[in-house]
């Protein structure tokens, strides 16, 4: 009997992290694109700002990997 709870849990951990990152990046990205249009010299900073919420999905991925490995 396959225990579906573990992969579903891992999926939720990763999926919600990805969703959170996506929502945050969409807002930062559009604002950043506007900023770069006005002041192109801020490009470097904007790239970093867009990358900031990626922490969420990365930690989600780590948690998902831990669930899969430690609980299976």
């Amino acid at each position: 009997m396959v225990d579906w709870g573990i992969p579903i849990g891992a999926g939720i951990a990763f999926g919600l992290g990805a969703l959170g990152t996506g929502i945050a990046q969409s807002k930062i990205g559009s604002a950043g694109a506007g900023t770069i249009a006005e002041r192109p010299e801020t490009f470097g900073l904007m790239v970093i700002l867009v990358a900031i919420p990626e922490t969420l999905v990365i930690l989600g991925f780590v948690v998902a990997a831990m669930i899969m490995i430690m609980l299976v």
Binding site: I48, A51, E54, T55, I58, F61, V62, A65, M66, I69
Partner: protein
């Protein structure tokens, strides 16, 4: 390495100002400051320098530049140019302008006339080509045209999709000319139809206004071609074309003769005028008394003596360089000049894209140069990917030599590809597990752990977090160093408190997880209790929340493991899918496609995240930024070569 900056005042008699500015411009070491900010209101002795009439130089420069461009390029005669340069450099503004004006008088009208004439001939040649093309196309219709006295012939061009306009024109012509016309049409190419209309001259106005009102392209032949048979017109075109080509060749020869005589002088004159124009442009930053000028600026200590010597050689004791005392706080205004070794330069560039460091701060670029390739290598960790990145960067670097930013980025990739290959050996990865499948390579076993990234997830995570702890502690230590330089006791306490509290928390977690002895757990608790008041003293009550943020920063280093693992899993998928098909070529194609995609991600993602770990996690512990970089007063071309 941060270069010490000195604030200097250059003083001298006003009559030497132009020459002094010229010496400073060519030594290219001083960053000029606007002295008007330091002149106190009501100061009767020192006042702002009147801006020189730069307009004359700028206008002359434009004219000389125009003549220079209109002449054909010939080889630079370096020796002759040097000779002219030395000669022109000696001239005062007035004499230089007189010489330039003489050159303009000699050349401007001649080159202008020749250029206009050549332009006209080129235009006429283009028109001849157009007429020839159309006439050749409609020539077969000639035999169908009636030859009548008092009749006019016109040709119109219509796009095929508007073919119905022809019918409309035909019907209207019946009314306008009372049937005294003939219209024949034929396709001249895939998109265009030509129609020849012959009509009684009495109806000229009516016919032309009809054609105009229909927005149809009417081919208006030159006057001399009118009424001639097409064959004759073609012959005339051919003769005219030959004549134009001969005339153009004569003009070119004339221009080459002029260039042979004047090109070297024009090139040097242009350069000297550009320099003088730049020099005049900064006069507004200087100060003056009745007989002297005052120039204020920053100069790196290592260039101070050579600059002083250049001025002394040129002016003896007439011009004086005064080193000003600057308080440590005011040194924040000093421009930042890091004379880093070539290997650190690309990282310096990367950092400046986000924020330039202040003068009194520790320069993060050498640390970025050390840790960035390390993090990048840990994330990519594949021999084949590393080699491809290296080759890719070398090709791009060679191909786009003039793009400075691209050169810097490719240098970063080249440096970072080395650790990628190294960690590829450690993790036993060559296109993911392909090398291992082929038996070429195996993951290394170090400290009892086989560093296969898919299986050793927990050790990789611990390694990533450990790197994070070390990196953050390093950042906090640099923060303490910066705070000591600025004599900010509170910041020293806050940063030190943070190091202690994080150490305490690690011991507590280690003790609770039974990884370290119980006694260390108690020590950990004591450390936290000691450190929290230090943080509150340094950063206020809200400083305590910084602990959570710092722990978050450390956990953020988990991305080193996560991105690496995501990359290796994608490589595994590529190999697996490639191996599943029965057709070897198809399998290879699928695997190659996925590996290329993974490689693009492997360049972009680790690059961005290594950089981000520095800018967001590491630099925030000590780096304030907002400084201005050292921009000496010199020609922009020189600036680019120095970089």
């Amino acid at each position: 390495m941060l270069q010490k900056m000195k604030k200097v005042q250059v003083l001298g008699p006003k009559k030497d100002l132009q020459s002094v500015v010229d010496v400073l411009y060519h030594s290219g070491t001083v960053q000029l400051e606007d002295i008007s900010k330091t002149i106190r209101h009501g100061d009767t002795l020192l006042r702002k320098m009147d801006i020189e009439k730069g307009g004359d130089i700028a206008n002359t420069l434009v004219k000389i530049g125009g003549i220079f461009l209109s002449l054909p390029k010939i080889n630079y005669n370096t020796k002759k140019q040097e000779q002219i340069y030395d000669e022109l450099q000696q001239l005062s503004h007035h004499d230089l302008l007189a010489r330039a004006n003489h050159v303009i008088e000699e050349l401007e009208s001649t080159t202008k006339d020749l250029a206009v004439k050549k332009n006209d001939l080129e235009f006429s040649l283009g028109a001849m080509d157009r007429y020839e093309k159309i006439i050749k196309k409609i020539q077969p219709l000639e035999s169908q045209l009636p030859i009548l006295e008092g009749f006019e012939v016109t040709v119109i061009l219509i796009q095929r999709e508007y073919r119905e306009v022809l019918d409309f024109i035909k019907n209207t012509l019946v009314e306008i000319t009372k049937k005294q016309f003939e219209m024949i049409s034929a396709d001249i190419d895939e998109t265009t139809i030509a129609a020849v209309i012959v009509f009684n001259k009495r109806y000229t106005d009516g016919v032309h206004s009809l054609i105009f009102s229909q927005n149809v392209n009417e081919v208006r032949l030159p006057h001399e071609f009118l009424g001639k048979p097409f064959n004759e017109i073609l012959q005339m075109i051919s003769v005219k074309r030959m004549k134009s080509i001969d005339e153009m060749a004569a003009i070119d020869e004339n221009l080459v003769n002029l260039a042979t005589e004047w090109y070297q002088e024009l090139a040097v004159l242009k350069k000297v005028l550009e320099d003088r124009n730049a020099e005049v442009g900064v006069f507004g930053k200087f100060g003056q008394t009745e007989y002297t000028f005052v120039i204020l600026g920053w100069i790196p200590k290592k260039y101070l003596e050579s600059t002083k010597k250049a001025l002394k050689d040129a002016f003896g004791n007439r011009v004086f360089v005064n080193e000003l005392e600057v308080s440590p706080e005011n040194m924040d205004e000093a421009p930042t000049f890091y004379d880093n070794p070539a290997i650190v330069k690309p990282f310096e560039f990367l950092l400046q894209m986000v924020n330039a460091p202040k003068y009194r701060e520790v320069d993060p670029s050498p640390l970025l140069a050390l840790f960035f390739p390390f993090f990048f290598g840990l994330m990519v960790g594949d021999i084949a990917y590393g080699i491809i990145i290296l080759v890719f960067a070398l090709i791009i670097k060679k191909k786009y030599k003039m793009e400075l930013w691209l050169q810097h980025l490719m240098n970063i990739l080249i440096i970072s590809s080395i650790p990628s290959i190294f960690f590829g050996f450690v993790f036993g990865e060559f296109f993911g597990n392909f090398g291992e499948m082929m038996g070429w390579i195996h993951p290394m076993t170090i400290a009892g752990v086989t560093w296969n990234r898919v299986e050793a997830i927990v050790p990789m995570l611990i390694l990533a977090i450990a790197i994070g702890v070390f990196h953050i502690f390093l950042g906090l230590s640099l923060g303490i160093l910066n705070a000591i330089t600025k004599k900010s006791k509170k910041h020293v306490m806050e940063k030190a408190g943070m190091i202690i509290v994080i150490t305490g928390l690690i011991l507590v977690i280690g003790g609770a997880a039974k990884i370290v002895p119980d006694i260390l757990l108690q020590i950990g608790v004591v450390l936290v209790v000691i450190a929290v008041p230090l943080i509150i003293y340094g950063g206020g009550f809200f400083g305590v929340f910084e602990i959570i943020s710092t722990v978050g920063n450390i956990l953020s280093y988990a991305r080193i493991m996560a991105i690496g693992m995501a990359s290796v899993i994608l490589a595994l998928v590529a190999n697996k899918l490639g191996g599943m098909t029965d057709v070897a070529v198809l399998g290879f194609f699928i695997a190659a496609l996925l590996h290329i995609m993974n490689l693009v991600l492997a360049i972009f993602s680790p690059f961005l995240h290594s950089f981000r770990l520095h800018v967001v996690e590491f630099n925030s512990k000590f780096f304030e930024g907002g400084g201005k970089m050292y921009k000496p007063f010199r020609s922009e071309k020189e600036d680019e070569t120095v970089k």
